[in-house]
Amino acid sequence: MKIFSVKKEIIENKKISAGCYRITFESRKIACMAKPGQFLHIKCSDTYDPLLRRPISIHSVENNVIEILYKVVGRGTGLLSEKSCGDSIDVMGPLGNGFDYQSLVTCHLSPILVGGGIGIAPLYFLARKLVEKYSNVTVLIGADAKHNILCVDKLKKLGCRVKVSTNDGSTGINGTVVNLLKKELSPENVKLKIFACGPIPMLKQINRLVSVYNVSSQVSLEKRMACGIGACMGCIIKVKNGYKRVCKDGPVFDIKEVIWEDL
């Protein structure tokens, strides 16, 4: 496995909804290696303040063009949002393990992707890969309100079955994405595999839900990172048999392996 550190010209940095942006740039090297669920470690400032890179998932790879989708929550992502077409972006990657979707065929499982808020970012890349092989890809998207529901049209365009929920009912069902997931699960239908990314409370609820139905599930987790490459031990989480690094052993984990009380 090879990791690259590159500076590339931004092709586009587009505001796609309030506080959410999408950057596109070209990198043949990263594009060749990238797998859904992996992330890039991005230097947001041209100075040493803020100092550390920020982990952002790979949202899409097409030909050699890479997309990231991010939400402005602080200084780093704020600086990123101010970059314009033609500015350079300093990225390291691809990093992390990525989703394991190879076993779907052999086990005859149907994929259900569950994204909360900006958690949809890595799932779109996964959906793109999945529709190459499967006709039955379901994507459940939840957010607080309509303007934070992202990617619906382009997921539908891929041929995915898309269901939406909002906490305020401004679009889709009134409730959470976990409510949507509940409807998909039944004791008769355990031939599913769930891929989830979103806030910790959402993932915890999914964990409780799938432990009832015993559905195979993978989750993408977040921790604050320094190196992003597995060297500093800054991003560890507790798992069943010890500790793992989110940046190197994750960010994708089997839902059963995670010690949820510790998150």
Partner: protein, 302 residues
């Protein structure tokens, strides 16, 4: 024009350039080998190894601060056995001197570790004495007497070049530097991190689970430089300077202040290619200033 020479000899450790890694920021070299040519470094200093595995501190372990970061990793490491059996053999495939950084709770731990790490292909040992001494209060490195005794004991059991790493969290670093030299150190390195803190004003809780942590990165450079300057005037053994280095100018400042080599820590997280950039910068500086070798720069501050 005379050929520029970047190689240095630190206490018998022959390095092709004076740029090393700082312990704990480069793991055991293996992760970074997927990204950069780790042989570019003059030497690789490993993450601290302890006798037994350590699980480290609870999360959160890192917090960003103005031009720096706080960490409370808590010396998480797999222990000496796994280091020797699994990590070191892979690291030894690279043509670069390897220095094991070791730590312990008491003198016995350090002595046992130094014994275990003999004759296995290491180029040197660095003692991380910025750790609590469980038999006395405070850190080893905060007391000249405990520093002297510890270094002296380890000195007796190892023939490897011995580097003693000092903490900046002391009133007078020259006293500890002197004690390390008297105890038999072949070189000293400094600084380790500065103890700091950060509070989330909304939750009113410390941002680190451990409450306090070690500050590193550009924010600490002036303090580190001052301490390297003071310590190198005190001792006659080589000094390895570190703390906030990000550019070749920073590295040259440390050399001028009295360092014979420098180490890169936090900057590895930010720009893993910094080593090469610094080496190029030092070369240009040497050419411009008609220095032929690194030792011509060391201590040349006026």
């Amino acid at each position: 024009m005379k050929q520029l020479s970047l190689d240095v000899n630190i206490a018998g450790i022959k390095m092709k350039n004076p740029v090393m890694t700082a312990s704990g920021t480069f793991g055991y070299g293996l992760e970074y080998s997927q990204l950069i040519d780790i042989e570019n470094f003059g030497a690789i200093v490993t993450k601290t190894v302890t006798l037994e595995p350590r699980i480290g501190n609870p999360q959160p372990r890192i917090v960003e601060t103005a031009s720096g970061m706080l960490n409370s990793i808590g010396l998480q490491n797999p222990g000496a056995k796994i280091f020797i059996k699994e990590k070191l053999p892979k690291l030894k495939e690279y043509e670069v001197p390897i220095i094991a950084n070791i730590s312990g709770r008491n003198e016995t731990d350090f002595v046992k570790l130094a014994g275990l790490l003999k004759d296995i292909g290491l180029s040197g040992l660095e003692l991380n004495i910025s750790c609590p001494n469980v038999e006395h209060s405070g850190l080893f490195a905060q007391n000249a007497d405990t520093t002297y005794k510890l270094v002296n004991k380890v000195r007796k059991v190892t023939g490897l070049p011995l580097i003693v790493k000092l903490t900046p969290n002391v009133t007078d670093v020259t006293l500890i530097a002197g004690a390390a030299e008297d105890g038999g150190a072949d070189a000293i390195s400094l600084i380790n991190t500065l103890i700091g803190m950060s509070i989330d004003i909304q939750t009113k809780k410390p941002k680190l689970a451990n409450v306090v942590g070690g500050l590193s990165g550009p924010a600490v450079k002036p303090v580190a430089l001052r301490m390297v300057y003071e310590a190198s005037k005190k001792v006659s053994i080589p000094v390895i300077g570190m703390g906030g280095i990000v550019t070749s100018d920073d590295a040259i400042e440390f050399l001028l202040a009295g360092a014979s080599a420098v180490a890169l820590g936090t900057v590895n997280f930010v720009n893993p290619n910094t080593c090469c950039e610094i080496i190029d910068g030092i070369k240009i500086y040497m050419r411009d200033n008609k220095f032929n070798k690194i030792s011509d720069i060391t201590g040349r501050v006026k």
